[in-house]
Symmetry: C2
Amino acid sequence: MMQTPLVLTDFVKRAERYFPKKLIISRTAEDTIHRITYKEFGQRTRKLAAALTKLGMKRGTKVGSFAWNHHRHLEAYFAVPCAGAVLHMINIRLSPEHIIYIINHAEDEILLIDGDLFPLVEKAIPLLKSVKHIVVMQDGLELPETNLDHVHSYEQLLAEAGEGYEFPEDLDENLPAGMCYTSATTGFPKGVVYTHRSLVLHSIALGLADSLGLRENDVAMPVVPMFHVNAWGMPFAAVNFGTTQVLPGPMFTPALLLDLIEQEKVTLTAGVPTIWLGTLKELEQKPRDISSLRAIVCGGSASPKGLIQAFEEKYKVPFIVGYGMTETTPIVSLSTYTSEMEQWSKEKKLDIRATQGLTVSLVETRIINDHGEVPWDGKTMGELKIRGPWIADEYYHDERTAEAFKDGWLYTGDIAVMTPEGYIKITDRVKDLIKSGGEWISSVDLENALMTHQDVFEAAVIAMPDEKWQERPLACVVLKEGRKTTKEALLSYLEGQFAKWWVPDDVVFLSEIPKTSVGKFLKAKLREDLKEQKL
Amino acid sequence: MMQTPLVLTDFVKRAERYFPKKLIISRTAEDTIHRITYKEFGQRTRKLAAALTKLGMKRGTKVGSFAWNHHRHLEAYFAVPCAGAVLHMINIRLSPEHIIYIINHAEDEILLIDGDLFPLVEKAIPLLKSVKHIVVMQDGLELPETNLDHVHSYEQLLAEAGEGYEFPEDLDENLPAGMCYTSATTGFPKGVVYTHRSLVLHSIALGLADSLGLRENDVAMPVVPMFHVNAWGMPFAAVNFGTTQVLPGPMFTPALLLDLIEQEKVTLTAGVPTIWLGTLKELEQKPRDISSLRAIVCGGSASPKGLIQAFEEKYKVPFIVGYGMTETTPIVSLSTYTSEMEQWSKEKKLDIRATQGLTVSLVETRIINDHGEVPWDGKTMGELKIRGPWIADEYYHDERTAEAFKDGWLYTGDIAVMTPEGYIKITDRVKDLIKSGGEWISSVDLENALMTHQDVFEAAVIAMPDEKWQERPLACVVLKEGRKTTKEALLSYLEGQFAKWWVPDDVVFLSEIPKTSVGKFLKAKLREDLKEQKL
C-alpha cells in the first residue's frame, strides 16, 4: 500500500478542490461579519505561509497565536503546520506570568496576536526571549500604536505576499503540527504537542456517523475557543469535510451566539456548560429559532441534567456530552446512543446523556483500581486511563511526564465509574477524591446533589484531614442571592440521597468559590484557606 | 503523540468490549440461518487463530479462503491477520487454471474452504505446491469424503482449541493483513496486498457521515462476495462499529436477498448492478417491505439510470454509486450529494447519482490527458489516476507493477470525465476507447445509449481497425427475446444523441456478449471474433 502520509496539507487541498464556494463566516466585531470562501481561505492560507516563511519561519519553528475564533486564526491553523512549522495556540485566559512562561518554554519565534488583545501582551513582550516578530491580526492594514519593533500587520503581509506558494510535499505524518499548554494543579502549565497524524485521525473521527458525524452539509460553530485544545478539533475537521464554519470571534455572549445560530442556520455547535446555561437563560428572555441545530456538544466539565433536559425536551436539540482533555486532542468519548437505547425511557436516556459517553473508535479507555479494571456496575470507582493515536505520550520538555504517562497509557487523574453499557461517568478528580476509612467518597456527586437544592448557587466539597477516618468531606456552599438556609437543612437534604458516611461533617457558607482561569473549582486553594476549619 | 498502530486487532477488541450482544446473522444454506453475537464471534475468532497457529500458521504465513459470505469467513477475516498472518481471499469465480496459479503464486500454506465448494477444489489440490492443510468450513463436525490427507473440520478445530488466546500486541500497522488477485486483460491475475493500516483507515472512511456513514445502529448486508475486494470493506468496518451484519452465504438469489432485507430489517446493502436489476424484477413479481433500507450501494460496473430511478422513486431508497477496484481496497468515490445539490431538479440529481461520485476523504484523484488535468466540463476525457493510504503501490511479485504504478500514483486504465462539481464519471477503459481521427469515442456511452433502446437487451461497442480513421466503432447487439429491429433503426436512434462521427459504422447482431468471470464484457474476445467483419 502507498505510504501517503496523514498530513493537514491534504485538508486544505481537498477544501480548495471540492468546496471552493463553501463559506467561512466570522464575526470579528459585534457589527462586522466576514464571509470568505474556502477558495479564498486557501489563497490566504498559502499567502500567510509565504509571508511567515519570509519572516523566518522554518521547519519546526514555533509560531504562537493569541487570538479568538475567526478566519485569520483558521488560516494560521493550516498555514503554519502545512509549511512544516508548529502552531502554539496560547490560552489567553492564563495568568500573565503563565503566558510569559509558556511562550518562553515553547520558544515561540513569531506571535500572531488579535488587535484587541495586543495591549494585553504589549507590556510583556520584552520578557519574551525567543520572539522575533509580532503579527497583528485585525481588519484593515493599520497597526496599533506601539514603540515595539518588528510589529507587522497581518493583512499587510498577505497583501504583499505573492500568489502560488506551494506547501512542501515531503512532510512526515509524525511531525509536530500544533501545541497547547494545560494548566497544572501546581506549577507552570504543561505543554502537549500534536502531530499531523494525530490531528488528521482525530478530524476523521469527528466525521464518523457514530461520533459527531461532521459533514459537508453541516454549519458548524465551535464556541469552545480556538486557543483551547484545537477548539475540540472542529476547525481542522471542517476544512477537510468542506463544512460551513461560523466563527464567533471575541463575541461569546449568549445573545450574539444565538443570533448567529438563527441567522446562519447553525447545525452543530460545541462549548462548555457555562455557555449553554447562559444561552438557555437568554432563550427564555428572547426566543430565537434554533431549529436548525441537529446537536449541541458539551464538555469541559460535568453537564447538569437540567441543562440537557431543557435543550432536549423544550428545544428538541440532542445535547451530547463529550469527554477529553488537552492531552487527548481532545475527543475520547461522547454520550451518543447505541441502538439498544433508542427504546429506553426518557429518564434512562437522560442518565446516559449525562455520562461522559462511549469511547470513540481508535481510542482505548480503562477504569482501573488496585484490583485491575473495575466492574461495569456504575458504582465502583477507579482512575481513567487512555491510549490511542491522538493521545499524548509526554509533556513537552517537562519532567512531570513521568507522573501521567506510564506503561503506554495516559493516566488522566480523573476518577470514574463504568456503566453496564460501557459508558464512562467521571465522578471526581483523583486529588479531590475523599478517602474516608479506606473507602472513596466522590466530591463531585455531593456537589451535584447540593447544587440541585433550591437555595444553592454553587457548592464545592473538599477533603479535610481527620484523625480517625483519615479524611472527611466538608461542604463549601454559595447561596443564591437573597436566599437563606442552614447547615442542618442542607445535610438532611443529602441524607436521603447518600450513604450516611458520605454526608459531609460540616458546611461552610462562602461568598464565592475560587476558580481557575477556565472556570474550574480551585479546590487546592479552598483546602488551604479552610485548613483551620474545625470539623 | 502515542505511536499506537492502526491494526485490525483493535476492531475485534472493540466489538467484544462494547457490542458483545450485537449479532452476526448468516445464512449458510437456504433453510439455515445462524445468529452469533460479537461476544461469540470474538471467542471463535480467537479459537480459530489458536487452531491455525497449531497447524503451523506463523507471522506472514499466507492462508487462503475459498468461501462465501458467512460468519466463519468473517472469523477468518480477523483471526488470520490479527495473528500476524495474511488472508488470501480467493475469487472462486476465476478459471481453475487461474485459481491454481494464484494459490501457488501467493504460496498459501493453509486453505479454508466452504464444504459445498470443496468438490470443486479437491481435484486441483495435488497441483497446489505450498498447501499443507485444508480446513473445511461447514455446519457440523463431519468432513466431506476424500482421499486427501491433512483435511480438517473447521468446527472440530474450534471445538478442540482452548480458550484464552491473546492476539500479539506488537503488530506493525504496515504488516500485510490480506490479499486479493484481480484478473488481467491478458495473462494471469495480479495480486494486491492490503496492510493493517490500509484496512483500518478504509474501514474508518466507510463510517464517515459523508461516505456510507456505517454505524452501530445499521444492519449491513454485503452482497458483494467476501472473496471480492474485502466485500468492499464492509465486514471489517462493521466489526469496529458494532454494526449488525447479515451475511447471505452462497444464497445470492434476488428472492432470498429480499427475504433477508425484509426479515432482518437491513438498512444498508452493497452489490453490483446485476444483483439490483434482479431484485428489482423480483420485487415487481413479489413485493417485499424494504423500507428499512436507508441506502443501496452499487459498483463494479456502470449503473443504468433506470435502475437508480426505480429504487429512488418507486421504493424511496437512495441508490449510491461507488467506484473502486481491487487495487483500491476499494472505496475511492461515492455519488452522495453535497448540500448545493439538495435543491436540484430530479433529473440533475439523477445525473449525479449515476456518476462514480465524489472522491472520499484521504484519497486523491486526478483525470489527466496529454495536457495535464482535464477541465471540469463533464466532457474532456482523460485517464483516472489515484493515490492515498489504501491505494496499492505494486502488484505482488509481479513485473506488471511498472505498467500501473508510476510517480506515486495508480494509473487505473479507466477513462473518465470530471463534472463541474468534481464528480468522476467513467466513460471507458483505456483499452476499449475508440481512437477515431485523433479524437476519442467512448464505447461505454454508445453502449449505454443502445441499451436504452426498447428492443436491445445488451450491447457492446468495440474498435475496429480503419485505414482512414485509424479506428471506427462497431456495435455488437443482443436483442431482447422475441424482439426484432434493424441496423438502420439502431443507428438512426443513436444519430439524435451523438455527434455524427461517434455513430458506429455497422451493427452485428449476436446471441450473447462474451463475459469475464465477474460479468464484465470480454471485448478483447469480441474484437478477436469479429476481426474479419467488414465495416
